[in-house]
Protein backbone atom coordinates (compact mmCIF):
# COMPACT_ATOMS: atom_id res chain seq x y z
CA UNK A 1 0.00 0.00 0.00
CA UNK A 2 1.46 3.31 -0.94
CA UNK A 3 1.06 6.80 0.37
CA UNK A 4 -1.31 7.89 -2.38
CA UNK A 5 -3.82 5.20 -1.48
CA UNK A 6 -3.68 6.08 2.20
CA UNK A 7 -4.25 9.74 1.38
CA UNK A 8 -7.28 8.91 -0.78
CA UNK A 9 -8.74 6.68 1.92
CA UNK A 10 -8.11 9.36 4.56
CA UNK A 11 -9.84 11.91 2.36
CA UNK A 12 -12.81 9.60 1.88
CA UNK A 13 -13.13 9.05 5.64
CA UNK A 14 -13.02 12.80 6.25
CA UNK A 15 -15.81 13.30 3.70
CA UNK A 16 -17.84 10.58 5.44
CA UNK A 17 -17.51 12.28 8.83
CA UNK A 18 -18.44 15.64 7.31
CA UNK A 19 -21.46 14.07 5.57
CA UNK A 20 -22.62 12.49 8.81
CA UNK A 21 -22.39 15.91 10.50
CA UNK A 22 -24.40 17.56 7.71
CA UNK A 23 -26.94 14.72 7.81
CA UNK A 24 -27.35 15.20 11.55
CA UNK A 25 -28.01 18.92 10.99
CA UNK A 26 -30.59 18.10 8.31
CA UNK A 27 -32.33 15.46 10.43
CA UNK A 28 -32.45 17.62 13.55
CA UNK A 29 -33.63 20.82 11.93
CA UNK A 30 -36.18 19.19 9.64
CA UNK A 31 -37.80 17.51 12.63
CA UNK A 32 -37.53 20.64 14.78
CA UNK A 33 -38.28 23.58 12.57
CA UNK A 34 -41.28 22.51 10.57
CA UNK A 35 -44.59 23.45 12.22
CA UNK A 36 -45.82 21.02 14.87
CA UNK A 37 -44.84 20.56 18.45
CA UNK A 38 -44.14 17.60 20.74
CA UNK A 39 -45.72 19.25 23.76
CA UNK A 40 -49.06 19.77 22.00
CA UNK A 41 -48.91 16.26 20.59
CA UNK A 42 -48.27 14.73 24.03
CA UNK A 43 -51.13 16.60 25.65
CA UNK A 44 -53.48 15.74 22.79
CA UNK A 45 -57.06 16.85 23.37
CA UNK A 46 -56.26 18.24 26.83
CA UNK A 47 -54.00 20.95 25.44
CA UNK A 48 -54.19 24.46 26.86
CA UNK A 49 -51.69 27.21 26.15
CA UNK A 50 -50.39 27.20 29.74
CA UNK A 51 -50.15 23.42 29.98
CA UNK A 52 -48.24 23.28 26.68
CA UNK A 53 -45.87 26.02 27.82
CA UNK A 54 -45.31 24.23 31.13
CA UNK A 55 -44.58 20.92 29.45
CA UNK A 56 -42.27 22.59 26.94
CA UNK A 57 -40.28 23.99 29.83
CA UNK A 58 -40.10 20.62 31.58
CA UNK A 59 -38.92 18.94 28.40
CA UNK A 60 -36.45 21.73 27.72
CA UNK A 61 -38.16 22.58 24.43
CA UNK A 62 -38.26 26.30 25.23
CA UNK A 63 -34.51 26.68 24.77
CA UNK A 64 -33.02 27.68 21.40
CA UNK A 65 -32.91 24.89 18.81
CA UNK A 66 -29.21 25.30 18.14
CA UNK A 67 -28.42 24.65 21.82
CA UNK A 68 -30.59 21.55 21.85
CA UNK A 69 -28.89 20.36 18.65
CA UNK A 70 -25.48 20.43 20.28
CA UNK A 71 -26.79 18.72 23.41
CA UNK A 72 -28.35 16.03 21.24
CA UNK A 73 -25.27 15.45 19.10
CA UNK A 74 -23.00 15.45 22.16
CA UNK A 75 -25.34 12.93 23.80
CA UNK A 76 -25.21 10.68 20.73
CA UNK A 77 -21.42 10.77 20.70
CA UNK A 78 -21.22 9.88 24.39
CA UNK A 79 -23.79 7.10 24.13
CA UNK A 80 -26.82 9.00 25.47
CA UNK A 81 -29.47 8.39 22.82
CA UNK A 82 -32.12 10.60 24.42
CA UNK A 83 -35.42 9.92 26.16
CA UNK A 84 -38.65 8.92 24.48
CA UNK A 85 -41.39 10.99 26.12
CA UNK A 86 -44.12 9.09 24.33
CA UNK A 87 -43.19 5.66 25.64
CA UNK A 88 -41.53 7.09 28.76
CA UNK A 89 -38.35 5.05 28.33
CA UNK A 90 -34.78 5.84 27.28
CA UNK A 91 -34.38 5.57 23.50
CA UNK A 92 -31.29 3.40 24.04
CA UNK A 93 -33.43 0.63 25.60
CA UNK A 94 -35.97 0.73 22.78
CA UNK A 95 -33.23 0.63 20.16
CA UNK A 96 -31.31 -2.16 21.88
CA UNK A 97 -34.39 -4.40 21.75
CA UNK A 98 -35.04 -3.80 18.08
CA UNK A 99 -31.73 -3.17 16.31
CA UNK A 100 -30.48 -6.80 16.38
CA UNK A 101 -33.73 -7.95 14.73
CA UNK A 102 -33.35 -5.49 11.87
CA UNK A 103 -29.68 -6.33 11.42
CA UNK A 104 -30.54 -10.03 11.24
CA UNK A 105 -33.14 -9.36 8.57
CA UNK A 106 -30.78 -7.14 6.55
CA UNK A 107 -27.84 -9.57 6.91
CA UNK A 108 -29.83 -12.59 5.71
CA UNK A 109 -31.16 -10.53 2.81
CA UNK A 110 -27.72 -9.33 1.75
CA UNK A 111 -26.21 -12.80 2.10
CA UNK A 112 -28.75 -14.00 -0.48
CA UNK A 113 -29.10 -10.90 -2.67
CA UNK A 114 -25.45 -10.08 -3.33
CA UNK A 115 -24.30 -13.46 -4.72
CA UNK A 116 -27.61 -13.97 -6.53
CA UNK A 117 -27.75 -10.53 -8.15
CA UNK A 118 -24.07 -10.39 -9.08
CA UNK A 119 -24.21 -13.95 -10.41
CA UNK A 120 -27.23 -13.20 -12.59
CA UNK A 121 -25.75 -9.86 -13.72
CA UNK A 122 -22.45 -11.47 -14.69
CA UNK A 123 -24.06 -14.41 -16.46
CA UNK A 124 -26.33 -12.00 -18.35
CA UNK A 125 -23.24 -10.04 -19.39
CA UNK A 126 -21.40 -13.19 -20.53
CA UNK A 127 -24.30 -14.21 -22.74
CA UNK A 128 -25.25 -10.73 -23.74
CA UNK A 129 -28.11 -10.61 -26.24
CA UNK A 130 -29.16 -14.20 -25.56
CA UNK A 131 -32.66 -15.21 -24.51
CA UNK A 132 -31.32 -15.76 -21.00
CA UNK A 133 -29.97 -12.19 -20.89
CA UNK A 134 -33.23 -10.77 -22.12
CA UNK A 135 -35.22 -12.82 -19.62
CA UNK A 136 -33.07 -11.59 -16.71
CA UNK A 137 -33.19 -7.99 -17.88
CA UNK A 138 -36.98 -8.10 -18.31
CA UNK A 139 -37.44 -9.69 -14.90
CA UNK A 140 -35.22 -7.03 -13.37
CA UNK A 141 -37.18 -4.20 -14.96
CA UNK A 142 -40.44 -5.72 -13.71
CA UNK A 143 -39.14 -6.04 -10.17
CA UNK A 144 -37.97 -2.40 -10.13
CA UNK A 145 -41.48 -1.37 -11.09
CA UNK A 146 -43.30 -3.34 -8.41
CA UNK A 147 -43.68 -1.70 -5.01
CA UNK A 148 -42.49 -3.88 -2.12
CA UNK A 149 -45.86 -3.77 -0.42
CA UNK A 150 -47.43 -5.27 -3.52
CA UNK A 151 -44.95 -8.16 -3.64
CA UNK A 152 -45.50 -8.62 0.10
CA UNK A 153 -49.30 -8.62 -0.02
CA UNK A 154 -49.42 -10.94 -3.04
CA UNK A 155 -47.04 -13.37 -1.33
CA UNK A 156 -49.15 -13.31 1.82
CA UNK A 157 -52.29 -13.94 -0.22
CA UNK A 158 -50.72 -16.84 -2.04
CA UNK A 159 -48.54 -18.51 0.59
CA UNK A 160 -50.42 -17.73 3.80
CA UNK A 161 -54.06 -17.42 2.83
CA UNK A 162 -54.51 -19.86 -0.08
CA UNK A 163 -51.73 -22.37 0.53
CA UNK A 164 -51.46 -21.85 4.28
CA UNK A 165 -47.80 -22.79 4.14
CA UNK A 166 -46.32 -19.79 5.89
CA UNK A 167 -47.33 -17.52 8.76
CA UNK A 168 -48.61 -14.08 7.68
CA UNK A 169 -46.89 -12.31 10.55
CA UNK A 170 -43.26 -12.59 11.52
CA UNK A 171 -43.67 -12.34 15.22
CA UNK A 172 -41.29 -14.88 16.66
CA UNK A 173 -42.04 -16.06 20.21
CA UNK A 174 -38.99 -16.54 22.45
CA UNK A 175 -39.63 -20.27 22.69
CA UNK A 176 -39.84 -20.79 18.94
CA UNK A 177 -37.97 -23.74 17.47
CA UNK A 178 -35.70 -23.48 14.46
CA UNK A 179 -38.37 -24.47 11.94
CA UNK A 180 -40.79 -21.77 13.14
CA UNK A 181 -38.06 -19.14 12.87
CA UNK A 182 -37.10 -20.18 9.34
CA UNK A 183 -40.73 -20.18 8.22
CA UNK A 184 -41.27 -16.74 9.70
CA UNK A 185 -38.28 -15.36 7.80
CA UNK A 186 -39.04 -16.80 4.35
CA UNK A 187 -41.55 -14.20 3.19
CA UNK A 188 -39.96 -11.01 4.57
CA UNK A 189 -36.56 -12.03 3.21
CA UNK A 190 -38.01 -12.98 -0.20
CA UNK A 191 -39.70 -9.59 -0.53
CA UNK A 192 -36.47 -7.81 0.36
CA UNK A 193 -34.43 -9.94 -2.05
CA UNK A 194 -36.90 -9.24 -4.87
CA UNK A 195 -36.88 -5.56 -4.05
CA UNK A 196 -33.14 -5.06 -3.80
CA UNK A 197 -31.64 -7.44 -6.37
CA UNK A 198 -33.06 -5.92 -9.55
CA UNK A 199 -31.03 -2.73 -9.45
CA UNK A 200 -27.90 -4.67 -8.57
CA UNK A 201 -28.43 -7.04 -11.51
CA UNK A 202 -28.86 -4.16 -13.94
CA UNK A 203 -25.88 -2.19 -12.66
CA UNK A 204 -23.49 -5.14 -12.50
CA UNK A 205 -24.50 -6.20 -16.01
CA UNK A 206 -23.94 -2.64 -17.26
CA UNK A 207 -20.56 -2.42 -15.48
CA UNK A 208 -19.34 -5.64 -17.11
CA UNK A 209 -20.72 -4.53 -20.47
CA UNK A 210 -18.73 -1.29 -20.16
CA UNK A 211 -15.54 -3.18 -19.37
CA UNK A 212 -16.19 -5.48 -22.34
CA UNK A 213 -16.00 -2.47 -24.65
CA UNK A 214 -12.42 -1.63 -23.63
CA UNK A 215 -9.34 -2.25 -25.81
CA UNK A 216 -7.78 -4.77 -23.41
CA UNK A 217 -10.81 -7.02 -23.62
CA UNK A 218 -10.65 -6.76 -27.40
CA UNK A 219 -7.01 -7.79 -27.09
CA UNK A 220 -8.08 -10.83 -25.07
CA UNK A 221 -10.61 -11.71 -27.78
CA UNK A 222 -7.92 -11.42 -30.44
CA UNK A 223 -5.69 -13.74 -28.42
CA UNK A 224 -8.51 -16.27 -28.55
CA UNK A 225 -9.77 -16.15 -24.96
CA UNK A 226 -13.13 -17.80 -24.37
CA UNK A 227 -16.17 -15.69 -23.55
CA UNK A 228 -16.22 -16.83 -19.93
CA UNK A 229 -12.49 -16.17 -19.48
CA UNK A 230 -12.87 -12.77 -21.11
CA UNK A 231 -15.53 -11.76 -18.58
CA UNK A 232 -14.20 -13.39 -15.44
CA UNK A 233 -10.47 -12.81 -15.96
CA UNK A 234 -10.39 -9.50 -17.84
CA UNK A 235 -13.63 -7.56 -17.49
CA UNK A 236 -14.69 -8.49 -13.95
CA UNK A 237 -11.56 -7.40 -12.02
CA UNK A 238 -11.82 -3.99 -13.64
CA UNK A 239 -15.52 -3.67 -12.85
CA UNK A 240 -15.14 -4.17 -9.12
CA UNK A 241 -15.46 -0.45 -8.37
CA UNK A 242 -18.80 0.18 -10.11
CA UNK A 243 -20.18 -3.14 -8.89
CA UNK A 244 -19.29 -2.48 -5.25
CA UNK A 245 -20.80 0.98 -5.64
CA UNK A 246 -24.01 -0.45 -7.01
CA UNK A 247 -24.19 -2.79 -4.02
CA UNK A 248 -23.75 0.12 -1.59
CA UNK A 249 -26.29 2.31 -3.38
CA UNK A 250 -28.89 -0.43 -3.42
CA UNK A 251 -28.67 -0.36 0.39
CA UNK A 252 -30.78 2.81 0.25
CA UNK A 253 -33.47 0.77 -1.48
CA UNK A 254 -32.96 -2.08 0.97
CA UNK A 255 -33.63 0.24 3.90
CA UNK A 256 -36.82 1.44 2.21
CA UNK A 257 -37.76 -2.21 1.76
CA UNK A 258 -37.01 -3.02 5.39
CA UNK A 259 -39.30 -0.21 6.51
CA UNK A 260 -42.17 -1.58 4.42
CA UNK A 261 -41.51 -5.25 5.18
CA UNK A 262 -41.24 -4.81 8.95
CA UNK A 263 -44.59 -3.02 8.85
CA UNK A 264 -46.37 -5.58 6.66
CA UNK A 265 -45.17 -8.58 8.63
CA UNK A 266 -45.29 -6.80 11.97
CA UNK A 267 -41.64 -7.70 12.45
CA UNK A 268 -40.20 -6.24 15.68
CA UNK A 269 -37.34 -4.28 14.08
CA UNK A 270 -35.91 -0.80 14.32
CA UNK A 271 -37.67 0.41 11.17
CA UNK A 272 -41.07 -0.56 12.57
CA UNK A 273 -40.14 1.26 15.79
CA UNK A 274 -39.34 4.37 13.79
CA UNK A 275 -42.55 4.22 11.72
CA UNK A 276 -44.54 3.92 14.95
CA UNK A 277 -42.50 6.85 16.28
CA UNK A 278 -43.53 8.95 13.28
CA UNK A 279 -47.21 8.21 13.93
CA UNK A 280 -46.87 9.29 17.56
CA UNK A 281 -44.41 12.11 16.71
CA UNK A 282 -41.81 10.78 19.14
CA UNK A 283 -39.05 13.14 18.02
CA UNK A 284 -36.07 11.91 20.10
CA UNK A 285 -36.78 8.37 18.90
CA UNK A 286 -37.10 9.45 15.25
CA UNK A 287 -33.92 11.52 15.38
CA UNK A 288 -31.86 8.75 16.92
CA UNK A 289 -33.22 6.03 14.63
CA UNK A 290 -32.53 8.24 11.59
CA UNK A 291 -28.96 8.75 12.67
CA UNK A 292 -28.46 5.03 13.21
CA UNK A 293 -29.79 4.25 9.73
CA UNK A 294 -27.83 7.06 8.08
CA UNK A 295 -24.74 6.02 10.00
CA UNK A 296 -24.98 2.45 8.70
CA UNK A 297 -25.69 3.70 5.19
CA UNK A 298 -22.72 6.07 5.17
CA UNK A 299 -20.42 3.36 6.56
CA UNK A 300 -21.48 1.07 3.71
CA UNK A 301 -21.06 3.75 1.03
CA UNK A 302 -17.67 4.71 2.42
CA UNK A 303 -16.56 1.07 2.65
CA UNK A 304 -17.59 0.64 -0.98
CA UNK A 305 -15.55 3.67 -2.02
CA UNK A 306 -12.52 2.38 -0.13
CA UNK A 307 -12.85 -1.05 -1.75
CA UNK A 308 -13.11 0.72 -5.11
CA UNK A 309 -9.90 2.64 -4.39
CA UNK A 310 -8.09 -0.51 -3.27
CA UNK A 311 -9.29 -2.49 -6.26
CA UNK A 312 -8.04 0.03 -8.81
CA UNK A 313 -5.03 -1.68 -10.41
CA UNK A 314 -3.60 1.65 -11.53
CA UNK A 315 -3.04 2.67 -7.91
CA UNK A 316 -1.35 -0.54 -6.83
Amino acid sequence: MNKRILEMIGGRLAVAVLSLFLVSLAVFFITELLPGDTAQELLGQAVTTEAAAQLRETLGLDRPAILRYFEWIFGLLTGDLGYSHVSDRPVANLVAERLPNSLTLAAITMAITIPLALGLGIVAAIWRGSIFDRAISSAAIMLVSFPEFMIATLLVMWLSVYMQWLPALSFIPATADFRTIVLAFIMPVSVLVFGSCSQMIRLSRAAIADAMATPYVEMAVLKGASRGRMVLRHALPNSVAPIVNSVALSMSGLLGGVIIVETVFNYPGLAKLMVDGVSTRDMPLIQTCSMIFCGFYLVLITAADIIAILSNPRLR
Binding site: G36, V278, M283, Y297
Partner: protein, 280 residues
Protein backbone atom coordinates in the same frame (compact mmCIF):
# COMPACT_ATOMS: atom_id res chain seq x y z
CA UNK B 1 -15.04 14.55 -30.54
CA UNK B 2 -15.55 17.10 -33.25
CA UNK B 3 -18.66 19.12 -33.52
CA UNK B 4 -19.78 20.45 -36.83
CA UNK B 5 -23.14 21.32 -38.25
CA UNK B 6 -24.88 17.98 -38.18
CA UNK B 7 -26.13 16.85 -41.58
CA UNK B 8 -29.89 16.83 -41.60
CA UNK B 9 -30.83 13.28 -40.75
CA UNK B 10 -34.03 11.65 -41.72
CA UNK B 11 -35.86 11.10 -38.50
CA UNK B 12 -37.31 7.66 -38.65
CA UNK B 13 -40.04 7.14 -36.11
CA UNK B 14 -39.63 3.46 -35.55
CA UNK B 15 -41.90 2.65 -32.65
CA UNK B 16 -41.66 -0.79 -31.15
CA UNK B 17 -45.02 -2.42 -30.36
CA UNK B 18 -44.15 -2.75 -26.68
CA UNK B 19 -43.40 0.97 -26.48
CA UNK B 20 -46.77 1.73 -28.07
CA UNK B 21 -48.58 -0.41 -25.49
CA UNK B 22 -46.68 1.28 -22.66
CA UNK B 23 -47.43 4.72 -24.02
CA UNK B 24 -51.11 3.78 -24.16
CA UNK B 25 -51.06 2.68 -20.51
CA UNK B 26 -49.37 5.91 -19.41
CA UNK B 27 -51.84 8.02 -21.41
CA UNK B 28 -54.74 5.98 -20.02
CA UNK B 29 -53.79 6.70 -16.40
CA UNK B 30 -53.04 10.33 -17.20
CA UNK B 31 -56.52 10.78 -18.65
CA UNK B 32 -58.09 8.92 -15.72
CA UNK B 33 -56.26 11.18 -13.26
CA UNK B 34 -57.26 14.32 -15.14
CA UNK B 35 -60.93 13.48 -15.55
CA UNK B 36 -61.40 11.52 -12.32
CA UNK B 37 -64.46 13.49 -11.09
CA UNK B 38 -66.33 12.68 -14.32
CA UNK B 39 -65.55 8.97 -14.14
CA UNK B 40 -66.51 8.08 -10.57
CA UNK B 41 -69.76 6.26 -9.86
CA UNK B 42 -70.11 7.29 -6.21
CA UNK B 43 -68.55 9.99 -4.04
CA UNK B 44 -65.33 8.49 -2.62
CA UNK B 45 -66.30 8.80 1.03
CA UNK B 46 -69.78 7.29 0.71
CA UNK B 47 -70.58 3.89 2.11
CA UNK B 48 -72.75 2.56 -0.65
CA UNK B 49 -73.11 -1.11 0.21
CA UNK B 50 -73.73 -3.16 3.34
CA UNK B 51 -71.47 -5.81 1.85
CA UNK B 52 -67.90 -5.39 3.14
CA UNK B 53 -65.27 -6.65 0.73
CA UNK B 54 -68.00 -7.42 -1.73
CA UNK B 55 -67.08 -9.10 -5.04
CA UNK B 56 -66.95 -7.47 -8.44
CA UNK B 57 -70.42 -6.87 -9.82
CA UNK B 58 -72.27 -4.82 -12.39
CA UNK B 59 -73.06 -2.22 -9.79
CA UNK B 60 -69.67 -2.15 -8.08
CA UNK B 61 -67.23 -2.86 -10.89
CA UNK B 62 -64.30 -3.67 -8.62
CA UNK B 63 -66.23 -4.71 -5.52
CA UNK B 64 -66.51 -2.87 -2.24
CA UNK B 65 -63.92 -2.10 0.42
CA UNK B 66 -63.75 -2.66 4.19
CA UNK B 67 -66.43 -0.02 4.82
CA UNK B 68 -68.60 -0.96 1.86
CA UNK B 69 -67.37 1.86 -0.33
CA UNK B 70 -67.09 1.55 -4.11
CA UNK B 71 -63.51 0.52 -4.95
CA UNK B 72 -63.78 1.55 -8.59
CA UNK B 73 -64.53 5.15 -7.58
CA UNK B 74 -61.80 5.18 -4.93
CA UNK B 75 -59.29 3.75 -7.38
CA UNK B 76 -60.09 6.45 -9.94
CA UNK B 77 -59.71 9.23 -7.39
CA UNK B 78 -56.65 7.46 -5.96
CA UNK B 79 -55.04 7.77 -9.39
CA UNK B 80 -55.56 11.48 -9.12
CA UNK B 81 -53.79 11.67 -5.75
CA UNK B 82 -50.90 9.39 -6.68
CA UNK B 83 -50.25 10.88 -10.11
CA UNK B 84 -51.12 14.46 -9.18
CA UNK B 85 -48.94 14.74 -6.08
CA UNK B 86 -46.08 12.88 -7.75
CA UNK B 87 -46.32 15.10 -10.82
CA UNK B 88 -46.30 18.39 -8.92
CA UNK B 89 -43.39 17.12 -6.81
CA UNK B 90 -41.51 16.05 -9.93
CA UNK B 91 -42.01 19.43 -11.62
CA UNK B 92 -40.73 21.31 -8.55
CA UNK B 93 -37.77 18.96 -8.09
CA UNK B 94 -36.95 19.23 -11.80
CA UNK B 95 -37.16 23.03 -11.83
CA UNK B 96 -34.85 23.36 -8.84
CA UNK B 97 -32.50 20.53 -9.82
CA UNK B 98 -32.13 21.45 -13.48
CA UNK B 99 -31.68 25.17 -12.78
CA UNK B 100 -29.03 24.57 -10.13
CA UNK B 101 -27.35 21.90 -12.26
CA UNK B 102 -27.07 24.26 -15.23
CA UNK B 103 -25.82 27.07 -13.00
CA UNK B 104 -23.19 24.80 -11.44
CA UNK B 105 -21.96 23.65 -14.84
CA UNK B 106 -21.95 27.11 -16.44
CA UNK B 107 -20.27 28.96 -13.57
CA UNK B 108 -18.06 26.11 -12.32
CA UNK B 109 -15.28 26.73 -9.83
CA UNK B 110 -15.96 27.31 -6.15
CA UNK B 111 -19.69 27.87 -6.72
CA UNK B 112 -20.01 24.45 -8.32
CA UNK B 113 -17.97 22.77 -5.60
CA UNK B 114 -19.89 24.24 -2.66
CA UNK B 115 -23.27 23.61 -4.27
CA UNK B 116 -22.40 20.01 -5.16
CA UNK B 117 -21.11 19.27 -1.66
CA UNK B 118 -24.15 20.79 0.03
CA UNK B 119 -26.58 18.90 -2.18
CA UNK B 120 -24.65 15.65 -1.67
CA UNK B 121 -25.74 15.81 1.98
CA UNK B 122 -29.23 14.75 0.97
CA UNK B 123 -27.85 11.81 -0.96
CA UNK B 124 -26.49 10.52 2.37
CA UNK B 125 -30.04 9.99 3.63
CA UNK B 126 -31.96 7.07 2.11
CA UNK B 127 -35.15 8.24 0.34
CA UNK B 128 -37.89 6.68 2.43
CA UNK B 129 -36.04 7.58 5.63
CA UNK B 130 -35.87 11.25 4.63
CA UNK B 131 -39.56 11.12 3.78
CA UNK B 132 -40.32 9.72 7.24
CA UNK B 133 -38.26 12.46 8.89
CA UNK B 134 -40.03 15.21 6.93
CA UNK B 135 -43.49 13.79 7.62
CA UNK B 136 -42.56 13.40 11.29
CA UNK B 137 -41.55 17.05 11.44
CA UNK B 138 -44.33 18.57 9.36
CA UNK B 139 -47.23 16.20 9.77
CA UNK B 140 -48.84 14.55 6.79
CA UNK B 141 -50.64 16.86 4.42
CA UNK B 142 -50.52 17.19 0.67
CA UNK B 143 -48.25 20.28 0.71
CA UNK B 144 -45.83 18.46 3.05
CA UNK B 145 -45.84 15.41 0.77
CA UNK B 146 -45.04 17.62 -2.22
CA UNK B 147 -42.33 19.35 -0.21
CA UNK B 148 -40.86 15.97 0.80
CA UNK B 149 -40.82 14.74 -2.80
CA UNK B 150 -39.15 17.96 -3.95
CA UNK B 151 -36.45 17.75 -1.27
CA UNK B 152 -35.82 14.06 -1.87
CA UNK B 153 -35.68 14.16 -5.66
CA UNK B 154 -34.09 17.48 -6.60
CA UNK B 155 -30.54 16.33 -5.66
CA UNK B 156 -30.75 13.52 -8.24
CA UNK B 157 -31.99 15.95 -10.93
CA UNK B 158 -29.19 18.30 -9.98
CA UNK B 159 -26.48 15.67 -10.24
CA UNK B 160 -27.77 14.29 -13.51
CA UNK B 161 -28.18 17.70 -15.15
CA UNK B 162 -24.83 18.88 -13.86
CA UNK B 163 -22.93 15.87 -15.16
CA UNK B 164 -24.60 16.10 -18.58
CA UNK B 165 -24.09 19.87 -18.72
CA UNK B 166 -20.43 19.67 -17.70
CA UNK B 167 -19.77 17.36 -20.65
CA UNK B 168 -21.51 19.67 -23.11
CA UNK B 169 -19.83 22.70 -21.55
CA UNK B 170 -16.45 21.35 -22.65
CA UNK B 171 -17.43 21.24 -26.34
CA UNK B 172 -16.26 23.61 -29.07
CA UNK B 173 -19.53 25.36 -29.76
CA UNK B 174 -19.71 26.49 -26.14
CA UNK B 175 -16.23 27.97 -26.37
CA UNK B 176 -17.35 29.64 -29.58
CA UNK B 177 -20.39 31.11 -27.86
CA UNK B 178 -18.30 32.36 -24.96
CA UNK B 179 -15.70 33.75 -27.35
CA UNK B 180 -18.32 35.82 -29.13
CA UNK B 181 -19.19 37.27 -25.74
CA UNK B 182 -22.33 35.44 -24.65
CA UNK B 183 -23.04 35.49 -20.91
CA UNK B 184 -23.40 32.50 -18.61
CA UNK B 185 -27.19 32.59 -18.71
CA UNK B 186 -27.36 32.72 -22.49
CA UNK B 187 -24.97 29.76 -22.69
CA UNK B 188 -26.99 27.84 -20.12
CA UNK B 189 -30.33 28.28 -21.81
CA UNK B 190 -29.56 28.52 -25.50
CA UNK B 191 -26.45 26.39 -25.86
CA UNK B 192 -26.35 23.75 -23.11
CA UNK B 193 -29.99 23.03 -22.33
CA UNK B 194 -31.18 22.17 -25.87
CA UNK B 195 -28.38 19.60 -26.11
CA UNK B 196 -29.25 17.72 -22.94
CA UNK B 197 -33.01 18.03 -22.84
CA UNK B 198 -33.66 14.53 -24.28
CA UNK B 199 -31.74 12.54 -21.67
CA UNK B 200 -33.09 14.82 -18.94
CA UNK B 201 -36.67 14.06 -19.92
CA UNK B 202 -35.93 10.33 -19.91
CA UNK B 203 -34.24 10.65 -16.53
CA UNK B 204 -37.27 12.53 -15.18
CA UNK B 205 -39.46 9.67 -16.37
CA UNK B 206 -37.43 7.19 -14.32
CA UNK B 207 -37.56 9.55 -11.36
CA UNK B 208 -41.34 9.77 -11.68
CA UNK B 209 -41.52 6.01 -11.16
CA UNK B 210 -39.40 6.30 -8.04
CA UNK B 211 -41.67 9.10 -6.83
CA UNK B 212 -44.92 7.20 -7.24
CA UNK B 213 -43.39 4.14 -5.57
CA UNK B 214 -42.10 6.25 -2.67
CA UNK B 215 -45.38 8.12 -2.28
CA UNK B 216 -47.41 4.92 -2.29
CA UNK B 217 -44.99 3.36 0.17
CA UNK B 218 -45.47 6.32 2.47
CA UNK B 219 -49.25 6.09 2.19
CA UNK B 220 -49.03 2.35 2.72
CA UNK B 221 -47.30 3.10 6.02
CA UNK B 222 -50.21 5.39 6.90
CA UNK B 223 -48.07 8.51 6.60
CA UNK B 224 -49.13 9.74 3.17
CA UNK B 225 -52.53 10.91 1.96
CA UNK B 226 -54.86 10.78 4.97
CA UNK B 227 -58.32 9.16 5.24
CA UNK B 228 -61.07 9.43 4.16
CA UNK B 229 -59.11 10.14 0.99
CA UNK B 230 -56.61 7.64 -0.27
CA UNK B 231 -54.07 7.26 -3.02
CA UNK B 232 -53.17 3.83 -4.37
CA UNK B 233 -50.80 3.00 -1.51
CA UNK B 234 -53.41 4.11 1.02
CA UNK B 235 -56.06 1.94 -0.61
CA UNK B 236 -53.87 -1.13 -0.15
CA UNK B 237 -53.23 -0.20 3.47
CA UNK B 238 -56.83 0.35 4.50
CA UNK B 239 -57.96 -2.91 2.92
CA UNK B 240 -55.12 -5.08 4.23
CA UNK B 241 -57.48 -7.26 6.29
CA UNK B 242 -59.26 -8.05 3.02
CA UNK B 243 -56.30 -10.25 2.13
CA UNK B 244 -57.91 -13.15 3.93
CA UNK B 245 -61.00 -12.83 1.73
CA UNK B 246 -58.94 -12.48 -1.43
CA UNK B 247 -60.62 -9.13 -1.91
CA UNK B 248 -59.95 -7.14 -5.09
CA UNK B 249 -59.65 -4.12 -2.77
CA UNK B 250 -56.04 -5.10 -2.00
CA UNK B 251 -54.99 -6.36 -5.40
CA UNK B 252 -56.46 -3.81 -7.77
CA UNK B 253 -54.69 -0.65 -6.46
CA UNK B 254 -51.39 -2.58 -6.37
CA UNK B 255 -51.87 -3.67 -9.95
CA UNK B 256 -52.77 -0.14 -11.03
CA UNK B 257 -49.56 1.16 -9.48
CA UNK B 258 -47.47 -1.64 -10.96
CA UNK B 259 -48.97 -1.16 -14.42
CA UNK B 260 -48.12 2.54 -14.45
CA UNK B 261 -44.60 2.04 -13.05
CA UNK B 262 -43.85 -0.82 -15.41
CA UNK B 263 -45.21 1.06 -18.42
CA UNK B 264 -42.99 4.07 -17.76
CA UNK B 265 -39.92 1.92 -17.10
CA UNK B 266 -40.43 -0.15 -20.25
CA UNK B 267 -41.19 2.94 -22.31
CA UNK B 268 -37.88 4.48 -21.31
CA UNK B 269 -36.10 1.17 -21.78
CA UNK B 270 -37.37 1.15 -25.37
CA UNK B 271 -36.34 4.68 -26.22
CA UNK B 272 -33.99 5.15 -29.17
CA UNK B 273 -30.49 3.87 -28.39
CA UNK B 274 -29.07 7.38 -28.83
CA UNK B 275 -30.89 8.70 -25.75
CA UNK B 276 -30.43 5.53 -23.70
CA UNK B 277 -26.66 5.64 -24.16
CA UNK B 278 -26.58 9.05 -22.55
CA UNK B 279 -28.72 7.86 -19.65
CA UNK B 280 -26.13 5.42 -18.34
Amino acid sequence: MTVSAAPRRKIRMHIRPIAAVCLAVVLFWTIVAMFAPLLVHYPVGDMVSYDYFGPMSGEYWLGTDYLGRDIYSRLIVGARYTIGIAFVGLILAALIGITLGLLAAAFGGLFDMVLSRAIDTFVGIPNLLLALVIVAGGGSSIPILIFAITIIFFPGCFRFTRSMAVNVNALDFISAARARGEGHFYVMIHEILPNIVGPIMADLGLRFVHIILLLSGLSFLGLGVQPPFADWGGLVRENMIGISYGSPAVVVPSLALASLALAINLLIDNLPQRIRDQLE
